[in-house]
Amino acid sequence: VTFASFDFKMSEYDCTTYYCNAGWKELLSHLSPYSWANWGIAIGLGFSVIGAAWGIWLTGSSLVGAAVKAPRIRSKNLVSVIFCEATAIYGVILAIILLNKVSEPDAKIYTFVEGWDFATFYFAGYGVFWSGCSVGFTNIASGISVGIAGSSCALADAQDESLFVKILIVEIFASALGIFGIIVGIIQSNNAQFPV
């Protein structure tokens, strides 16, 4: 087994400094794909949960206030909270899918073995990162939008029962945004698998 040196060649470009930080080109291409991938998982999960929490914060306060005078809305309007929660679940699902793609290398050394599959390596790193971003950013938008619609839904339901289902349709469209994110995210990361 021969070992490649620390400053490995990535195509024709070689680092001019020891830490490969002479410029953006060097820096970005020499960031470890493992770090890209794990960042992606964190962003995907973290932003989804931020979006869900923000949405629940918005809709929950209106729900509690409106239920003071109209207690009948309590159970029905929990559906808005559930829609917000769904965006967090999308984030968790995607995070679990993604982290299954990040596999530990067989050789537990800090340099690369001969014949390391750099193409797959980098593809997987970027794929997982941006897939996480797709999901994270769409879910934060979806969560906030469901929250605002849910708050209006609770207030309208308290005044007039027939309005609930109609405004719920608005919320359904808002939560569809999160579904777009997770569909695209899964397809983006489909072929990404870290080499071992």
Binding site: W54, W57, L58, T59, S61, S62, L63, V64, G65, A66, A67, V68, K69, A70, I144, G147, I148, S151, S152, A154, L155, A158, Q159
Partner: protein, 399 residues
């Protein structure tokens, strides 16, 4: 006028308003369902005595509010309905955080000014302090000690200065008094022969000056809030300012304030500097000395022009200008409930509840005095049969 980004107080738009104020706004909107509906008013107008009115009110949100009273008079109904409003107001206020809490405090300053004026006027006519305190508006109460001190001052400029320095300086209406004293210090040091004339109008001037300063202060606070709140509240306050200007002019006809010398100096200073009528309309208003000239002064403002046309062409029995202004304001306050995530609904709720209390008192008085022909002259709140709603459904397509 665009108020987006005009605010330096962080209020939050659609996506952040609910974090701090969602609960109180939802409370207010829930309590909106407690307004008396058309059918409730209809049942009450059919009543023959006040006991029936009490029974009808038990079916509504008012519930058993009169149960502890042995005798029911319109004054009792007004007092108990007002105390219901006050309880609701303080419930909202207890749950409010900045800047909503400051906003709600501003709403109560108006009633504090009313109470100060009530106490000052009351002592001028020599009434008992306890009676006066019992009559004070509950939303604008000071500390007991403050209120008992107010009548001990003379009702002249020197007296007001003393009143401010010792009693009112710590209250929220202190700054308004201070500004008023600063602005009128010129006239205090000037002609003292005019003092006798001034004293009887002095209280009027004081009240109107305080209200003007309060409205302008509230207006600038709302502008600082920015966003939807500023749009809605500034519109409502402008309407109030215009009503104040027109009422000051109307009420001054026949009083010394209407004299040619006083008009330009004293009366003109009382018009608020917010509002549609400022500055061109107030300029014309300050020259008006009778109804016709007043009508001409507001003729270029269509919303007031239509009210004044009707006023000038009809007799006082069949047309009350106050009622027209109330109708216009009820419509604006109802519209303040239209969009979410702003403070306008809190202000509108208080004002609309006041209108409802006025309606209850009117209906009770008509029943008591057996004047059933006048009984429908109240202005219902959130009524589906309101004139302006009928207009919009007639013209709208796709209804």
């Amino acid at each position: 006028m665009s108020y987006n980004g005009g605010g330096d107080i962080l209020l939050g738009g659609l996506s952040t308003f609910n974090m701090q104020h969602g609960f109180v706004e939802a409370l207010v909107r829930g309590y909106r369902s407690g307004f008396l509906s058309d059918t409730d008013y209809h049942h009450m107008t059919q009543c023959d005595n006040l006991e029936d009115v009490k029974m009808n009110l038990q079916e509504t949100d008012y519930d058993t509010f009169l149960n502890s009273e042995s005798s029911i008079t319109p004054a009792v109904i007004e007092a108990k309905a007002l105390s219901k409003l006050v309880n609701e107001f303080f419930y909202f206020r207890a749950n409010a955080v900045e800047p909503l809490s400051t906003f709600m405090d501003y709403i109560s300053y108006e009633y504090m000014i009313e109470n100060v004026m009530l106490l000052l006027r009351g002592t001028l006519s020599g009434r008992n302090i306890n009676e006066l305190i019992a009559q004070c508006h509950p939303l604008g109460m000071f500390k007991e000690s403050t209120m008992r001190n107010i009548p001990s001052f003379e009702a002249n400029p020197r007296g007001y200065a003393d009143l401010y320095e010792t009693v009112l300086v710590d209250t929220p209406v202190g700054p308004y008094f201070q500004t008023y004293l600063e602005q009128s210090s010129a006239s205090i040091s000037a002609a003292s022969e005019v003092r006798n004339v001034l004293e009887e109008v002095q209280i009027e001037i004081l009240k109107n000056s305080l209200m003007k300063l309060y409205l302008e202060d509230f207006y600038s606070f709302c502008e600082r809030l920015g966003g939807e709140t500023a749009e809605v509240m500034c519109g409502l306050l402008r309407a109030r300012a215009d009503r104040a200007a027109i009422n000051i002019t109307l009420n001054s006809f026949g009083t010394p304030l209407n004299d040619a010398t006083m008009r330009d100096t004293e009366r003109k200073k009382l018009y608020p500097s917010i509002g549609e009528l400022y500055p061109a309309g107030t300029e014309l208003l300050s020259k008006a000395d009778d109804d016709v000239k007043l009508g001409q002064a507001v003729s270029s403002f269509p919303q007031y022009h239509s009210i004044f046309e009707k006023f000038l062409n009809s007799s006082p029995e069949e047309f009350s200008i106050d009622d027209e202004f109330y109708k216009r304001e009820v419509r604006m306050y109802e519209l303040a409930f239209e969009s979410q995530m702003h403070f306008g609904c809190v202000y509108a709720y208080v004002k609309l509840k006041e209108q409802e209390i006025r309606n209850l008192v009117w209906i009770s008085e008509c029943i008591l005095q057996r004047r059933k022909d006048q009984i429908s002259n109240f202005i219902p709140v959130f009524s589906t049969s309101a004139e302006w709603r009928a207009e919009s459904t007639r013209r709208g397509a796709g209804h």
